[in-house]
């Protein structure tokens, strides 16, 4: 499958501080790739390098098999969309006026504005000025702007951080639809459940280095202990493992109607992150 992003031994220094060190990963066409890490781990710096907003210190970075610095050209900017924590919207203009500006810059038909507004569930509010919008609504307008030109590659920096559950679900459905149409998505998030729901693969970034990379299921298998917890009717909890001894115990509890609940002890991505790095994802 075609490689959309290829990063090899990427290094980025800011003065004397190293923001990224020996970061390597590839993303194939049609993948949703999650870049997970706490604040200051280098997620946004990586996006800035990939979108040619920042120069790298060392390493190789290519998008669509072209060096990242070529992403500055008008033609290549049509190929990706970006949502960052800074909305960059004109606050005196309405939602529609903001999107019409960008539809003109991308040279799209006006229907693209309606489609983008439907995508983020904001068509009815299109005449509202941006300075009257809540943080969540601004996030949705920024997302509409990022996907309006149906990019091949979408960079999303904390896309649902300010959204309520209903709109978060709406955005998830829309992103899946975009992905089904072939859009590759590079997503950074703190939200482990978001990564589990959306991502085909994730990378854990900590202090500028990638600590683990793989699909959520792979990582859970690798770092999980494969035990079950049995909650008994007397309120007692027992942890059991694969094997004849624990199978007999479970059989006996079930025979005597002593089992209230059984659940797996599969770790969350957050648990795995803590296990690998020794720190929380804040």
């Amino acid at each position: 499958m075609e490689t959309v992003i290829d990063v090899q031994h990427l290094k980025k220094d800011f003065n004397r501080e190293t923001a990224l060190q020996d970061v390597s990963f590839t993303i194939k066409k049609g993948e949703i790739f999650g870049f997970l890490g706490p604040s200051g781990s280098g997620k946004t710096t990586t996006i800035k390098i990939l979108t040619a907003q920042t120069e790298k210190t060392a390493g190789e970075v290519s998008l669509f098999n072209r060096p990242a610095h070529e992403m500055k050209s008008s033609q290549n900017r049509q190929r990706f969309g970006i949502l960052t924590d800074n909305s960059g919207l004109y606050t005196r203009l309405s939602i529609e006026e903001n999107l019409l500006l960008y539809s003109s810059l991308y040279q799209l038909p006006n229907i693209a504005v309606k489609e983008a507004l439907d995508f983020v569930n904001l068509y009815a509010e299109r005449k509202k000025k941006v300075n009257q919008l809540s943080k969540g609504m601004i996030q949705r307008v920024t997302l509409a702007r990022a996907i309006m030109h149906k990019p091949e590659l979408l960079f999303l920096d904390e896309p649902t951080s300010a959204l309520d559950p209903v709109n978060t679900q709406h955005i998830y459905n829309g992103l899946r639809k975009l992905n089904d149409l072939g859009t590759t998505i590079f997503l950074t998030t703190h939200d482990m459940s978001e990564a589990e729901i959306l991502c085909d693969r994730v990378a854990f970034l900590h202090q500028g280095k990638i600590r683990a990379i793989g699909s959520p299921n792979q990582l859970k298998k690798e770092f999980g202990d494969e035990t079950l917890t049995v909650e008994l009717t007397n309120g007692q909890c027992e942890t059991i493992k694969n094997g004849a001894h624990d199978a007999q115990k479970l059989y006996d509890w079930m025979q005597s109607n002593a089992v209230a609940r059984i659940y797996t002890n599969e770790p969350t991505l957050g648990d795995i992150f803590m296990q690998i790095t020794g720190s929380d994802l804040i």
Binding site: K48, T51, Q53, T54, E55, S73, S74, Q75, R77, Q78, I82, N86, S87, G88, L89, Y90, T91, R92, L93, E97, L101, Y102, S104, L105, Y106, Q107, R145
Partner: protein, 235 residues
């Protein structure tokens, strides 16, 4: 450089809408008009007085407005978003400058009319005024690129406005302090020298030198603007 008329037009229209709703900045266009009207009522009829409101247009409309528009784009991160769109450096700079250029032409024309100035050679003067607009737009853009916020922009642009608008007054003291004679090479002073020459018997050198001087200022200012833009907008 990739230039697109459609993108320039989109940025121009956006600036028009933003400017018309930004009363703190848009109110500045009335200042030179009021001054021109007041000078006319005072019965002023010398070139220096005619050019006070005209040079004020370049300072408070052209340089100041352009500086604020650029600084606000930086403060609100909208410039970064524009740069991530297919709009090229040329589209952005031309689109943003075109709006201020048109406003400048309109306000300079109104100021000339209100102050009661009837130039002897409108064609040559118009060329010099257009070139001056190009220079002051570059100056405003440059100041806007240095500023991080609109507040900072308002402060940065002040000395620039003072030097270029009121610089020609320094020539009054040049006989006492010869070093001030350097002020005659300011584009605002060259504009006055050119207008003064046009009122009498002038040779071609009387207008070629001021026009070339203003072109040189513009070229240097735009070159610096391009370099600073590229440097400031990449982390």
């Amino acid at each position: 450089m990739n230039i697109s008329i459609a993108r320039i037009q989109a940025i121009f229209m956006k600036d028009y809408k933003e400017f018309s709703r930004n009363y703190a900045v848009s109110v500045m266009i009335f200042l030179p008009l009021i001054l021109a009207f007041a000078y006319n009522k005072m019965g002023t009829n010398d070139i220096d007085a005619y050019f006070l409101p005209i040079n004020l247009v370049f300072a408070v409309v052209t340089a100041y407005v352009q500086c604020c528009l650029i600084a606000e784009e930086k403060e609100k991160n909208t410039l970064r978003s524009l740069m991530l769109s297919p709009a090229s450096l040329g589209d952005i700079l031309i689109g943003k400058s075109l709006f201020v250029f048109i406003v400048t032409i309109v306000i300079v024309s109104l100021s000339i009319f209100l102050v009661g100035y009837e130039p002897a050679n409108l064609f040559i003067l118009a060329i010099a005024l257009l070139l001056s607009s190009v220079f002051y737009i570059a100056l405003g853009t440059l100041c806007g690129l240095f500023a991080k916020t609109i507040m900072e922009a308002s402060i940065i642009v002040l000395p620039v406005m003072f030097i270029f608008s009121f610089g020609p007054f320094a020539l009054t003291f040049a006989s006492v302090y010869p070093v001030l004679d350097i002020a005659k090479w300011l584009p605002s002073a060259q504009l006055i020298l050119l207008a003064d020459a046009l009122e009498g018997n002038y040779s071609s050198m009387d207008y070629i030198v001021p026009i070339l001087t203003i072109i040189a200022w513009s070229a240097v200012a735009w070159l610096a603007t391009g370099l600073i833009y590229k440097k400031r907008m990449v982390d």
